[in-house]
């Protein structure tokens, strides 16, 4: 290792100590550029050791492989298999299976989860207000489960009764309304355990006219009580603690960004999202087209959700984390990296509804 490399690492190490110093770098011409100079871009030739410097205290990393990919989950929207009913209405058909599965919730820490379709959170279902949803649920797990959707629907489709025993099936069918962002989760008893073991996900119902084009992503705030003492050892968005800290989520400078944010944390009454170096518009539950507030910190109760919209003015790393410092240091810590001209690059497609 050359002397110059050593100095680089030293500088990066200091940056890793706090987001504030990264933001200081950002002010001096853009963190992305600064980190690029330091060889810290995750694509181009950055070493494992260098990325380690960005971590808070977590040890090790998630192995690359065929497991759950939190980066892909951000932008995976499942529109279902589309058919038309006799009256010409759009019917979206989904297959959902409850299965037991061990998942990695922090590097090297495995949690015996109950999942929808083998992943936590479950697949993000997406449709337009007025569509008919036909969800064929089968329980391949070891306990009785259901799928309870938030929203307006017939009570017999509410996913509380009947309880679906292992090996049984049930088809939920209802009209999707109102538009907004809604959680779905298992409603079997004991409720707390069925939810915190991982049986939850997001249903996005778009307004009939769609929303303005934006780079869209889903963030589910969750936690894991790995020793089952009624307190979470791990907090995250989208399950993997600290995942987006060393793999910043890339967006374009001034590009419209829309985050569907849902709080499915168990045990703690509230969770929160705080954005550094910028402000966002917040749409509670996403059920209105005009925003409720313009802020940089939003607090959500268990099961509460909303839509975050923003355009980042400045290039560089924007820290995003729970403003409960405890949650942040236990894994709910991320970066959004604003990159000039990102839209021109190959990468995550900008979502345009239609």
């Amino acid at each position: 290792m050359s002397r110059r490399d050593w100095l680089k690492l030293g500088g990066v190490g200091v940056a890793g100590l706090s987001g504030a110093s990264i933001l200081a770098l950002a002010r001096r011409g853009g963190a992305a550029a600064a980190l690029e100079r330091a060889g810290l871009r995750q694509e181009a030739g950055s070493t494992h050791e260098e990325l380690q410097q960005l971590r808070m205290g977590v040890f090790g990393d998630y192995p690359p492989g065929d497991g759950f990919d939190p980066m892909a989950f951000l932008t995976e929207f499942d529109y279902g298999r589309v058919v038309r009913d006799p009256s010409g209405r759009t019917v979206r058909e989904y297959e959902m299976v409850a299965v037991d599965r061990e998942i990695e919730v922090a590097p090297g820490v495995w949690f015996p989860a109950w999942t929808y379709n083998g992943q936590v959170p479950g697949p993000t279902l997406r449709c337009t207000e007025g569509d008919v949803l036909r969800i064929r649920f089968s329980n391949a797990g070891s306990h009785p489960h259901t799928i309870h959707f938030h929203g307006t629907h017939p009570t017999e489709m509410d996913g509380v009764f009947p309880v679906i025993e292992p090996g049984e099936r049930f088809t939920y069918e209802f009209e999707a309304k109102p538009f907004g962002v809604h959680p779905y989760h298992c409603h079997s008893l004991p409720l707390k355990r069925h939810i915190h073991k991982g049986l939850y996900g997001v249903l996005i119902v778009d307004p009939p006219g769609g929303r303005a084009p934006a780079r869209e992503m889903v963030m589910v705030m969750n936690g894991f009580d790995t020793n089952f003492d009624g307190e979470n050892e791990v907090y995250a968005i989208n399950t993997a603690a600290f995942y987006y800290q060393t793999r910043p989520i890339r967006v374009g400078v001034k590009e419209p960004v829309r985050i569907y944010l849902v709080n499915m944390t168990e045990f703690d009454p509230v969770n929160s999202l705080h954005l550094h170096a910028a402000m966002f518009r917040f749409y509670r539950t996403g059920t209105r087209l005009d925003h409720h507030e313009f802020t940089d910190t939003i607090m959500l109760c268990q099961g509460e959700r909303g839509i975050v919209e923003m355009e980042l003015e400045n290039p560089g790393l924007h820290m995003v984390h729970a403003h409960q410092s405890e949650f942040a240091e236990l894994g709910w810590m991320s970066f959004i990296d604003a990159v000039p001209h990102l839209a021109a690059e190959a990468g995550v497609p900008v979502h345009r509804h239609g």
């Binding site: 205290g57 040890f59 922090a106 820490v109 015996p112 894991f224 790995t226 236990l330």
Partner: protein, 408 residues
């Protein structure tokens, strides 16, 4: 009915196994069968049926946390469970924290590891360390009051030695000064004071046993803390008994001056082992920051321990032993306190502490039995004569009263 007649002769025939070789074989045969059983278990693993679907049983014990310098914590871990444990993450004060583990992250059964955490701990405040295993099990340890762990430097050896002298050696020597008083009180009152000594010793023994069992609770399960206590107590009791009986057979054993001197040394040894345990407690508590050694506490220990000197001289009071013997007894009883503070301060281990304390209990038990035996031989009424019984009660009360001063 025939079998009833042949039975005894048959069993006596079985009782004589013949040649020594055959006897050896009969002795070893069960061991060979046991070895075969173990081999079958390892190869076939019949209990694997019971394990399917169960998470592994994980048990890590944090034996000790030291704070060697500002900004550094060092955690000493033992795996006392049946399975290897992988330390996936380390949390300090509910935050994932960077750290280094010497050796492998997977600690084998009965294996040890040292984890070094660069954490800005705050002087005088509590900190909690949690180890998170790969299966999500947590093992926690609370540093009650963070303070820099003393390094084994000349200065600290000196300070701990002084502490040991204050609470152990000096009080015992002061207690020995009761010797001229006891010399002239007469046999009846000697017995009273011997009974009082038994009272003191019973109190010390119960105290040490309680302490040993308490620390045994923090010993990793595989090392069986309570088993260590039983081993230590009975081991030291039986060793001292055996040595005593050999000496009595070779040296007469008529409760003469030599036997009384031996008894006095034995008392000094028992008290010395108890004081070693006391030193361990003081040294480790100081090093771990769980007590502030105020002068009140030191005074309390001093008053408490002065009575120990009285216990040592009571058997030999009538014999006018030379001064050097009294000093030797005082040293035997008092100096282990210093060794205890050193060990406790610099190399505390719950396993060693449990064993030390248990050995002390055994020694005290032996001394009590010896004194009671001697008194019974000299006076048929023994310990339960009214005067002697009141002596015992007073001994217990004196210890109880002076122990009130030591509540930290």
């Amino acid at each position: 009915m025939d079998s009833g007649v042949t039975g005894p002769s048959g069993s006596s025939a079985g009782g004589s196994v013949g040649s020594p070789g055959r006897r050896l074989l009969l002795g070893i045969a069960p061991l060979l069968l046991l070895a075969a059983l173990v081999a079958v278990f390892i190869v076939v693993d019949p209990t694997s049926v019971l394990r399917t679907g169960f998470p592994p049983v994980e048990e890590l014990t944090i034996e000790r946390v030291t704070l060697p310098e500002p900004g550094v914590m060092r955690v000493h871990v033992v795996n006392g469970g049946p399975e290897p444990v992988t330390v996936a993450q380390v949390l300090v004060d509910e935050a994932y924290w960077k750290h280094e583990i010497d050796g492998d992250r997977t600690i084998p059964r009965l294996g040890r590891a040292t984890i070094t955490i660069p954490y800005p701990w705050v002087e005088g405040e509590p900190h909690e360390i949690v180890l998170l295993s790969s299966t999500g099990v947590t093992f926690s340890y609370e540093v009650e009051v963070a303070t820099q762990t003393p390094r084994p430097s000349a200065r600290f050896f000196g300070i701990f030695a002084l502490l040991g002298i204050y609470v152990g050696l000096v009080p015992v020597l002061i207690g020995l000064l009761w010797y001229p008083f006891l010399r002239d009180v007469g046999r009846r009152w000697i017995h009273f004071f011997l009974s009082l000594t038994i009272g003191l010793l019973v109190f010390l023994g119960a105290d040490a046993l309680h302490e040993a069992l308490e620390i045994a609770g923090s010993v990793p399960a595989a090392f069986q803390g309570v088993g260590l206590v039983v081993l230590g107590v009975l081991g030291s009791l039986l060793t001292l008994r055996a040595v005593g009986s050999v000496r009595r057979r070779t040296g007469g054993g008529d409760d003469g001056p030599r036997d009384r001197l031996r008894l006095a040394y034995l008392i000094a040894l028992g008290i010395g082992l108890h004081n070693l345990g006391e030193g361990l407690a003081i040294g480790s508590a100081y090093a771990l920051g769980s007590i502030a050694l105020g002068s009140f506490l030191v005074i309390g220990f001093a008053i408490h321990n002065t009575t120990e000197g009285l216990a040592i001289v009571a058997p030999v009071a009538a014999d006018r032993p030379p001064l050097r013997r009294l000093l030797a007894m005082g040293a035997l009883a008092g100096l282990p306190t210093i060794a205890g503070t050193w060990i406790g301060g610099f190399a505390y281990s719950p396993i060693a502490a449990t064993l030390f304390l248990a050995v002390g209990v055994g020694a005290i038990l032996e001394v009590v039995l010896e004194i009671a035996g001697m008194m019974r031989r000299e006076d048929p009424g023994g310990l339960f004569q009214p005067l002697n019984a009141s002596g015992l009660a007073i001994g217990l009360l004196v210890m109880y009263g002076t122990a009130l001063l030591v509540v930290a």
